[in-house]
């Protein structure tokens, strides 16, 4: 199943800094690279619709367009999101966090499958404040993967510095699981990372199309610049 095209052309001023994004990705994976503060999270906020931007964002439908005065609220956008920090609901158990996006019990099998693959069965009844950062990140990714399953046309998985809390071995494992899950279901993965090696194992992704963008300083603000993949990602 092929991932949808994402075309985002918008600009925004955040914290006194001007950001301009011109991203047109029809690949399975979209990678946005840049150091801290370069506007990666701002791009994801633009996709989520939690900040006011001008321009347009569209996939198979229009998410927002300043010109056409269209604005799709967050809950209607075909995406799931794993933020960089505070990724769990603090008052819910791990299990309730994971199944937050599920419609009743319809996806019980998928839940069991993910919980087993992510090795988080032993955490299910725990309070989220009593688990480690790495465990929490796995729980959050599992929740996003389940939530995104409700979209018939694939959808978009937004990962903001996703494997920051995981050690290398676990990172390889989880990133592999995430990529397999998404590729099978035509879910486009949108990564925001500061280094290309935080995306996961690319060695086996020869048949997968990856679009990569980098945020660079141009004039008074930061702009996106398309990178050729995979050669250009090396050494970034």
């Amino acid at each position: 199943m092929k991932a949808q095209r994402l075309h985002a052309l918008f600009s925004v001023t955040q914290g006194g800094q001007f950001f301009s994004y011109d991203i047109d990705s029809s690949g399975d994976i979209l990678v946005l690279l840049g150091p801290s503060g370069s506007g990666k999270s701002t791009f994801l906020k633009g996709l989520l619709g939690t900040i006011k931007v001008s321009g347009f964002i569209k996939s198979s439908q229009i998410w927002m367009s300043t010109k056409e005065a269209i604005f799709l609220p967050l809950e209607k956008r075909p995406l799931a999101w794993v933020p960089q920090l505070r990724f769990l609901f603090p008052h819910l158990s791990v299990l309730d966090n994971i199944r937050f996006g599920l419609e009743k019990e319809s996806a019980k099998e998928r839940l069991d499958e993910l919980v087993a693959a992510f090795e988080i069965e032993h955490l299910l009844e725990k309070n989220v404040n009593s688990i480690s950062g790495g465990e929490g990140q796995r729980v959050a990714i599992a929740r996003a993967l389940l939530a995104i399953c409700q979209f018939t046309e694939g959808g978009f998985l937004l990962l903001d510095e996703p494997y920051a809390s995981l050690d290398e071995e676990l990172e390889q494992k989880i990133s592999g699981l995430v990529l397999d899950w998404c590729l099978q279901r035509g879910i486009k993965t949108v990564f925001s990372v500061h280094q290309s090696d935080r995306i996961g194992d690319f060695s086996r992704l020869s048949d997968v199309k990856i679009d990569a963008y980098k945020l660079v300083q141009k004039g008074k603000g930061l702009k996106t610049e398309r990178l050729a993949f995979p050669s250009s990602l090396k050494g970034v």
Partner: protein, 467 residues
């Protein structure tokens, strides 16, 4: 003086035989503080609201409807009579003005003493000025809001002496009279006015007149015929121990609970609105719902009186359902209006403490705003909202200003603790009740603050070690 005490005894004896007030339900009397005890003897089954004549008269003119009003001042009796021309005022008893000191004081020259008096607006304060002129002393400069507080000043030695009614002095063991004014020098008379306004028509005007007459508050001045009964002053004093402390405490708690229940949903609604919605209307809504927090409670009470008083746009509704003014529900309503803003402010704070990030996270899972509100925002804010509820409870139990104006002095049915303390302060021998009620209100405050801290901490714990 003699007449006064004889009336006391006579009324006490006459009451059970009158039967006018009904077997199960007594009549409602608003009585000047200084004849409050007489009213209690005359009307043990009914409601006796005791206070300054001026305040009681103002309440009646604002829509309160007792069956009988007994004023210590002809002016206020006439004012009320003007508004209720069907009924005539009757002079029913007289009292004497005295200069009182503590029992252990033996002053030589009265005018050398620092003599306190009630405010000029209170009849006893007005008589005090006449008394000062008679004595040739300067007009009193230390003015207490009422005779009850003046007595406390005397005991606390804030003043050396005080212009008081003889009945008050006799009823207070710590005080004695050092000068008694002749009735021809300072004439102090009590006037009764039978009223029959909506709600009390069951008595009928004739019935009221009969009740008054039979109870001794009659034109014929039955009291004049009766002799002084020894021990009568003692009865006056011990009668005060019947202040129903438990009833007042329960009434206060009930008011607090009802107010918290009434305020719960508005607090959540407005708290969330003010925390999350940013429109040009936000400030207007804030202004309307939060103003009772900063407006003097007395003004809030006056506003309520205007809204629910007679001759207003709500009067057709009030005609059907009855006015909450001067009722127990009025106390609830006044407390509600004054306490709600505190609840809203706390609830707003609780919602503001919830990072919108979590709401976005919930919505990114494809859930509607309302679903996210129910499952994320509200549960995360809830301990903070409950903490606000604790403060709202404490505020409503302690409410005084608005309640005093709008609900009056609810003696029989119980009001808030503050009202009861204030009333007890005005009543000779009410000190014990004052202390018990004060202690209880302190305990209640401590409980509320502890609850507030506990729940506020619960909310903070949500965001403590979250990975």
């Amino acid at each position: 003086m003699h007449y006064f005490f004889s009336s006391l005894i006579l009324l006490f004896c006459l009451y059970p035989s009158t039967g006018i007030a009904g077997e199960s339900k007594g009549i409602e009397i608003y009585a000047a503080s200084s004849v409050g005890e007489v009213a209690k003897f005359a009307n043990p089954k009914g409601s006796n609201y005791v206070g300054a004549s001026s305040r009681l008269a103002t309440q009646i003119l604002s829509g309160a409807h007792p069956d009988i009003f007994i004023s210590a001042d002809k002016f206020w009796a006439l004012e009320v009579a003007k508004a209720n021309p069907r009924y005539a005022i009757s002079k029913i008893a007289s009292n004497r003005l005295v200069v009182a000191t503590l029992k252990n004081m033996f002053p030589h020259e009265i005018c050398d003493l620092k003599i306190g008096a009630s405010l000029k607006e209170v009849p006893s304060g007005h008589y005090a000025d006449i008394g000062a002129t008679v004595l040739g002393c300067a007009s009193p400069s230390s003015r207490a809001p009422n005779a009850g507080i003046l007595r406390e000043w005397l005991k606390a030695k804030v003043v050396d002496a005080a212009y008081l009614y003889e009945t008050d002095v006799i009823a207070d063991e710590a005080l004695k009279s050092v000068h008694i004014f002749d009735e021809t020098q300072v004439e102090i008379s009590f006037y009764a006015l039978p009223l029959s306004i909506a709600g009390n028509t069951w008595l009928g005007s004739q019935g009221l007149s009969n009740a008054l007459e039979n109870a001794g508050f009659g034109k014929k001045g039955l009291l004049k015929k009766a002799p002084i009964a020894p021990g009568s002053t003692k009865d006056v004093r011990y009668k005060n121990e019947e202040i129903d402390v438990l009833g007042i405490v329960l009434s206060s708690l009930l008011i607090g609970l009802i107010v918290v229940c009434m305020a719960f949903f508005p607090a959540i609604f407005f708290g969330f609105f003010l925390a999350r919605v940013r429109t040009r209307w936000t400030i207007l809504v804030s202004l309307i719902v939060l103003s009772p927090l900063v407006v003097p409670p007395v003004v809030t009470g006056l506003a309520l009186l205007k809204i629910f008083g007679p001759d207003h746009f709500l009067s057709p509704l009030i005609h059907v359902f009855g006015s909450p003014a001067f009722t127990w529900f009025g106390a609830v309503l006044a407390s509600f209006i004054v306490s709600l803003p505190l609840f809203i402010v706390m609830s707003r704070r609780a919602f503001e403490a919830v990072d919108p990030h979590f709401e976005n996270l919930g919505r990114s899972c494809g859930k509607s705003k309302f679903f996210v509100f129910r499952k994320i925002t509200l549960p995360l804010a809830f301990p903070g909202i409950v903490a606000g509820g604790m403060l709202c409870f404490a505020r409503s139990v302690g409410e005084f200003g608005a309640t005093a104006v709008f609900a009056g002095n609810l003696a029989a049915e119980g009001g808030t603790i503050s009202l009861a303390i204030y009333r007890s302060l005005q009543t000779p021998g009410g000190e014990e009740a004052v202390w018990i009620l004060s202690l209880f209100s302190l305990l209640l405050s401590a409980f509320s603050i502890a609850g507030y801290e506990y729940f506020a901490q619960q909310q903070r714990a949500f965001f403590g070690d979250n990975p």
